[in-house]
C-alpha cells in the first residue's frame, strides 16, 4: 500500500481535527507534499461545509407547547413520585450510607463475636452465645487465634469469616455436634493457610489425591516440591478460573463454591474480589519441554520477592502426540510481575520455530551419553512417563512407538547406570552447546553429573534439586503439587504491598518422540500445538 493509500482513510479525521500527536503530524506532512491528497482533503472539507448548511429546519412553536403540556400532565399525575425522587436525589449520600450500614449490620455483626480478638477473651465459664454457632474456621484455619491481629490479618479474617458465613449460619452440625467438637484434623506442619482438611466425601467431591499418594506415580517418584509438607489429608486444589482440561481430576467444581473450605484459607483466591492482592494475571507459553519447568517459574518468582503456590501438571492426549501442560501459580509483588514475565518469556517458542526443536539434538545427546556410559534419563524421563501412560491405554493411544522407545530408553539408562562411567567433559560440552538454552543445559548437566557419580542413588528424597529436576523433566506424574504457605509468603501477604497472582501456563510443544508417520491424515499433525 502506498503512503497515499495509508493516509486517505485518515483525511476525514484530520479535517475534523480528531487526529492527535504523531499521526496528525504525519498526515499534515503528507498533505503538504502530495497534491492529490491535498485535493482530496479539500473535497472532504467542502462536502462537510455543504452538509452543515443543510440543517435549516425549525420546529413549529406548537411543538414546544405540546411537549410542555404533556410534561405538566405527567408531573401532575405523579407528584408524590416526583417529590420522592427529588428528596432521594438530594439525600443520595445519606441513603447510600444508610443502606450500606444496614447491609453491614445484617451480614457482618452476627459474625463479629466469632472472630478471634485477643482483647476480648471469651467468657471463662458457661456456654457463650456465639459458641452455639459452629466455628470450624477459626479452630482449624487460623494459626493466629489468640494472637494480636494486625490490620491486614484482621481484614483477612473478616474476609474469611464473610466467605465462610453460609456454612455455619445455615447448616446445623451433624448429629448435634458442633464442628468445634469434631475430631481434630490430621496434624500438618502448617495449618495456617494452604493445608486443608480433607473432607471430600462429606461434600460429595471426588477424592483429591494427596501429595503423599500420587495417582500414577512412578516408583520412587516424589511429587512434592521442595519445602512441601506431605501431611495426610492435605488437599490439592486446582485453579478455579482456568478450565480444567481433560484428564484433570485434581480440581472439582465444588472448589469454586463460596462455601468451599479452600476459599477460607486462600486470601488470594481467584474469586475473592476483596482480597488484598486479588489482581490476577495469566501467562500462556508454548515451550520446549526441556527449557522451562516448575523450577524456573519458582525461581523467577522467588527472585522477584514472591513465592510459588501450586503447580498443576497434566498430560494432554491429542490425536498424534501426548503433550504436557503445567500450570504454575506464583504470587509476586505487583511491581515485579513484568520482570517475572520477561524472564519467563525468554523460553517462549517463537512462531515458526519447530515444535520439537531439539529432537535431533536429543538424539545426539542421548547417543553421546550412551557412548560415554552416562545416563540419558534426563532427556527421556518425560518420554518414559508418557510412554508408560500411552502404553497403558491412555486416550489418544497410538503411542506404542513412544512407549517402546521410552522402554528402550529406560533399559539403556539402566545399562548406563550399571556401567557408572563418568561422562567426558568434551562431549558434555558438545551436548550443552547443542541446546539453544545454555542455562537449561548447565542445569541439566549439573544434575546429570551428579547422577553419573558411581555412588549416586536415585532414591526418593535424594534432594530437593533432584525432585525439582524430576518435576521439570516430566518424571512427575500428572497431578497437583501444592506448596504450604511459608513464613515468607505470610510476611508478603501481611505486608502492605499489592500482590499479583500470576498463573503461568506452560504448554510444552508437541513431543519430540511422536512418530511423524502416525500423524492422522488430513494435516492434523499440529493439532496439539496451542491447545
Amino acid at each position: 500500500m502506498t503512503e497515499c493509500g495509508r493516509i486517505r482513510p485518515e483525511l476525514k479525521a484530520y479535517a475534523d481535527g480528531e487526529l492527535s500527536g504523531r499521526l496528525r503530524e504525519r498526515v499534515g506532512a503528507h498533505v503538504d507534499a502530495c497534491a492529490s491528497c491535498r485535493g482530496e482533503l479539500a473535497a472532504i472539507q467542502r462536502l462537510g461545509q455543504e452538509l452543515r448548511i443543510l440543517e435549516t429546519a425549525h420546529p413549529r412553536p406548537e411543538l414546544r407547547r405540546r411537549i410542555l403540556a404533556e410534561v405538566e400532565r405527567i408531573r401532575a399525575s405523579s407528584p408524590r413520585r416526583a417529590r420522592w425522587l427529588a428528596w432521594l436525589d438530594a439525600n443520595r449520600l445519606a441513603v447510600a450510607t444508610a443502606a450500606a450500614a444496614a447491609v453491614a449490620a445484617v451480614f457482618l455483626v452476627p459474625r463479629v463475636g466469632q472472630m478471634p480478638v485477643p482483647a476480648t477473651p471469651p467468657p471463662p465459664e458457661g456456654p457463650a452465645v456465639h459458641e452455639a454457632v459452629p466455628r470450624d474456621a477459626s479452630s482449624s484455619r487460623s494459626a493466629l487465634a489468640g494472637q494480636p491481629l494486625s490490620a491486614p490479618e484482621l481484614r483477612t479474617a473478616k474476609r474469611q469469616e464473610a466467605l465462610a458465613r453460609p456454612v455455619p449460619a445455615t447448616v446445623p452440625a451433624p448429629s448435634g455436634r458442633s464442628r468445634a467438637q469434631a475430631p481434630p484434623a490430621p496434624p500438618t506442619a502448617d495449618l495456617h493457610a494452604e493445608s486443608l482438611p480433607a473432607q471430600t466425601p462429606a461434600l460429595g467431591r471426588s477424592p483429591v489425591p494427596s501429595l503423599a499418594a500420587p495417582r500414577t506415580a512412578a516408583p520412587g517418584a516424589d511429587t512434592r516440591l521442595e519445602g512441601d509438607v506431605a501431611a495426610p489429608g492435605v488437599a490439592a486444589k486446582a485453579v478455579p478460573t482456568a478450565p480444567a482440561p481433560a484428564g484433570n481430576t485434581a480440581g472439582t467444581p465444588d472448589e469454586g463454591r463460596p462455601d468451599h473450605p479452600a476459599r477460607d484459607t486462600d486470601p488470594l483466591h481467584y474469586d475473592s474480589p476483596a482480597a488484598p492482592g486479588s489482581l490476577q494475571e495469566k501467562l500462556v507459553m508454548t515451550v520446549d519441554r526441556l527449557d522451562l519447568g516448575v523450577g524456573e517459574v519458582r525461581a523467577a518468582a522467588r527472585e522477584a520477592g514472591g513465592y510459588a503456590r501450586e503447580a498443576v501438571r497434566e498430560s494432554i492426549a491429542g490425536a498424534v502426540a501426548l503433550a504436557n501442560q503445567t500450570s504454575v501459580t506464583v504470587v509476586v509483588p505487583q511491581d515485579r510481575v513484568d520482570d517475572v514475565k520477561a524472564r519467563l518469556m525468554r523460553f517462549q517458542l517463537r512462531q515458526g520455530e519447530p515444535e520439537a526443536p531439539h529432537g535431533a539434538a536429543l538424539e545426539e545427546q542421548r547417543a553421546l551419553l550412551l557412548r560415554a556410559g552416562g545416563d540419558a534419563s534426563q532427556p527421556s524421563a518425560a518420554a518414559g512417563s508418557m510412554g508408560g501412560i500411552g502404553g497403558g491405554g491412555a486416550p489418544g493411544g497410538g503411542f506404542g512407538g513412544a512407549g517402546t522407545q521410552a522402554g528402550q530408553e529406560r533399559a539403556r539408562r539402566t545399562e548406563g547406570q550399571a556401567a557408572g562411567k563418568p561422562a567426558e567433559s568434551g562431549e558434555i560440552a558438545r551436548v550443552r552447546s547443542a541446546r539453544p538454552d545454555a542455562k537449561a543445559g548447565q542445569r541439566t548437566e549439573r544434575t546429570r553429573s551428579r547422577q553419573l557419580e558411581p555412588n549416586h542413588q536415585a532414591a526418593p528424597g535424594a534432594g530437593q534439586a533432584q525432585r525439582s529436576q524430576k518435576a521439570r523433566d516430566g518424571a512427575v506424574p500428572p497431578g497437583t503439587q501444592k506448596r504450604t504457605l511459608g513464613a515468607h509468603a505470610r510476611t508478603l501477604q501481611n505486608a502492605a504491598v499489592p500482590l499479583v497472582k500470576l498463573q503461568v501456563e506452560i504448554r510444552e510443544a508437541r513431543s519430540a518422540f511422536a512418530a511423524p508417520e502416525r500423524a492422522a491424515p488430513g494435516g492434523k499433525a499440529g493439532q496439539n500445538k496451542g491447545d
Binding site: 482513510p9 485518515e10 483525511l11 476525514k12 479525521a13 475534523d16 480528531e18 473535497a43 472532504i44 467542502r46 462536502l47 462537510g48 455543504e50 452538509l51 452543515r52 448548511i53 443543510l54 440543517e55 435549516t56 429546519a57 425549525h58 420546529p59 413549529r60 406548537e62 411543538l63 414546544r64 405540546r66 411537549i67 410542555l68 404533556e70 410534561v71 405538566e72 405527567i74 408531573r75 416526583a82 417529590r83 425522587l85 427529588a86 432521594l88 436525589d89 438530594a90
Partner: protein, 206 residues
C-alpha cells in the same frame, strides 16, 4: 431563580446560540428533579431544534418528526431521575433521541416512501440571490437524496457528526461504538457520499 448556564456551546449548525452560553448540567438536573418547571423549559429551548432536526433525518414527514421529538423529550423527562451522570447530559439526551429514532425506523412501514420534497430540510432564502439560492437548493436536495441512500450505519454517523456537530467521542457514546469505528465509518460514509453526489459536487465546487 438561578439561570441555567449552557456549558456545551456546540450549537447546532444554523442555530443562533449565544457563544458564551454555558450549561451547568448538575444545576439543571437538580432543578428539574426538584420540580422546577422553568428548568425543563430551558432544557427544551436548548435542545428542541437539534433534536427536531435529528428526528427529521429519520422521519418521513415533519409531522412524524414532531411526534418523535415530543416522545424524546417526554422520555428525557421521565428518565432524568435515573440519569447518574456517567456521561454528559447532552450525550445522554442524544442517546435517548437516537434510540427513539432507531425505534421509529424499525417500526416504519417498509412500503412508505419518504416525502423528501416536503420535509423542508433546506429552507432557501430567496430574498438574496435567487439564482444562487436555486442552485443551493438543488444541491441541498441532492445531498438529502444522497444521505437517504447511505446505509443506516453511515447515515447515523453523518447525521450526528456533520449535522448535529457531535465529536467523535460523543458519537461513539451515543451509538455505543468505539471511537475508531466512528472514525472509520465517517471516512467510508464520506467516500460513499462523494460517489453518490458525483458530478454535482464537482460542479458546485467549481
Amino acid at each position: 431563580m438561578q439561570p441555567i448556564l449552557w456549558a456545551r456551546g456546540s450549537a447546532a449548525p444554523g442555530e443562533t446560540q449565544d457563544a458564551s452560553a454555558v450549561i451547568d448540567e448538575k444545576l439543571v438536573l437538580r432543578r428539574i428533579r426538584e420540580g422546577d418547571q422553568c428548568a425543563f423549559q430551558e432544557l427544551l429551548d436548548h435542545y428542541e431544534t437539534r433534536i427536531y432536526r435529528l428526528a427529521l433525518r429519520y422521519a418521513d414527514s415533519p409531522a412524524d418528526a414532531e411526534d418523535i421529538t415530543q416522545e424524546i423529550f417526554l422520555g428525557v423527562f421521565r428518565n432524568l431521575p435515573g440519569f447518574r451522570g456517567a456521561s454528559s447530559l447532552s450525550t445522554w439526551i442524544y442517546r435517548v433521541a437516537v434510540n427513539h429514532c432507531l425505534e421509529y425506523r424499525r417500526k416504519r412501514r417498509l412500503d412508505q416512501v419518504p416525502l423528501e420534497e416536503s420535509l423542508g430540510l433546506a429552507d432557501s432564502d430567496w430574498r438574496g440571490d435567487p439564482v444562487k439560492a436555486a442552485a443551493k437548493s438543488a444541491l441541498s436536495a441532492q445531498l438529502d437524496r444522497a444521505l437517504a441512500r447511505l446505509s443506516p450505519i453511515h447515515r447515523d454517523v453523518i447525521v450526528l457528526h456533520e449535522l448535529q456537530g457531535l465529536t467523535y467521542q460523543e458519537c461513539a457514546e451515543v451509538l455505543g461504538l468505539p471511537v475508531g469505528t466512528v472514525k472509520s465509518r465517517l471516512s467510508n460514509a464520506f467516500a460513499r457520499l462523494r460517489e453518490l453526489l458525483g458530478a454535482a459536487l464537482c460542479e458546485e465546487m467549481a
